[in-house]
Symmetry: C2
Subunit: 210 residues, 2 copies
DNA sequence: CTATTATTTGACCGACCGGTCAACTAATTG
DNA sequence: CAATTAGTTGACCGGTCGGTCAAATAATAG
């Protein structure tokens, strides 16, 4: 009953687009509405506040990231260490595409909001932390598998996964700061491998995938 | 001639304090002035814009970071790899202190502004990039020394230094997101060492400092 | 057709934003 | 002393901020 609408979705997508390429604070409700082609009243019909829209946008980012980056890279018919390589490859491709399209390397949506809002908004901080925990879980499974296959020396997969996520966020931050996607390529594969203690050759092509 | 004033310094320090514990956008010129005990007109007597104050604050942060973190940690009578360990130790101490004092882990001033403003303000982006380049240079010298001493396998010190700075920013980001200084301790020493290819023992106590 | 419900509209709110300015005060110089 | 200069004051500017609301509209259910 009543009319139906895609305004909610459009608002969520606009929030993701605009906040990703700039920042939370620099995107006003006004601009959000214009970008989504929606009136201000409709905004507050669907979301009690700008913060709530942001939470929804983060939720959407979780799905989007899973479909476009994580699932393709962490596809189980690749050996585990190559999944992580493929992940960094995709991050590089994404950064390069964004730079080509917008002139800027926008970094990581999650990391961006984490840094901008963690000290100011506990609700958003928790949401962001949850997304990162999820990601860490995925990495943990992957390295655990690599350890089981003896592609990696025996070690605590949970802490290692945290380290890898940290490294990925740091590399992304540097790429954004220098506005240079090449940095991701340069700091990708090799150093993640070293970070894992996987050193020079170990685990490379233990299945003939390269 | 004319009266003298410490308003400029007070404004710079206030900017550093406030923007560090929250964000650039969330700190208004008004609040900045109140915190510094200065009138708005005085603000614009010393700085043409909020952005210029921010640049000055970043410059101050360079000196502050050098004195309180970098110089103590990278003191040359420690072997090079231990300097990097000492660096992460100091970062942990700092985060823990901030958490105790303010309830929040504020992350890294430079990384925070990098993420918040890199896509929006080229001037600030360049300043931030310069500070990170400086830091990378210091790390590069350090790892180059370690390589020369054979504490580290032969490799490109420039790229390795970038990787270490990235890792440090990433760890700091995670600590801020989870509001947990312990994360820095957990992800510190061990994984930096691995990142460098310094693996388990190599280079540890090659001078009897432990 | 009527009642109900979901959505849309756009004017409006007080607060705050970054920035300007002319008048004023205090210290120094000759 | 007067002149010069550096710093201070606080009112003021147009614009934007996040958020509210009452009335209008469109789709469905009975």
């Amino acid at each position: 009953m009543g009319q139906v609408s895609d305004a909610k979705d459009k608002l969520v997508q606009s929030a993701l687009d605009l906040m990703y390429s700039r920042s939370y604070a620099s995107v006003g409700v006004q601009e959000l509405c214009e970008h989504a082609g929606v009136q201000k009243g409709s905004f507050y019909h669907f979301f009690p506040s700008k913060r709530d829209l942001t939470i929804a946008a983060l939720e959407r980012q979780r799905e989007l990231g899973r479909c476009t980056i994580l699932e393709p890279a962490f596809c189980p018919d690749r050996p585990p260490l190559q999944r992580i390589e493929a992940w960094f490859d995709r991050l590089y491709d994404h950064a390069a595409t964004m730079k080509r399209k917008t002139g800027c390397v926008p970094g990581c949506v999650v990391g961006n909001l984490a840094i901008e809002l963690s000290t100011q908004d506990e609700v958003i901080r928790h949401k962001v932390a949850a997304l990162l925990k999820d990601l860490t879980g995925l990495i943990e499974q992957t390295v655990a598998e690599a350890i089981k296959r003896k592609d990696l020396p025996s070690q605590n997969p949970k802490v290692l996964a945290e380290a890898i996520v940290a490294y990925m966020e740091g590399v992304t931050l540097l790429a954004k700061t220098h506005n240079d996607p090449a940095l991701i390529k340069r700091l990708g594969h090799k150093y993640v491998t070293q970070l894992m203690g996987g050193a020079e050759v170990r685990g490379r092509g233990s299945r003939p995938t390269r």
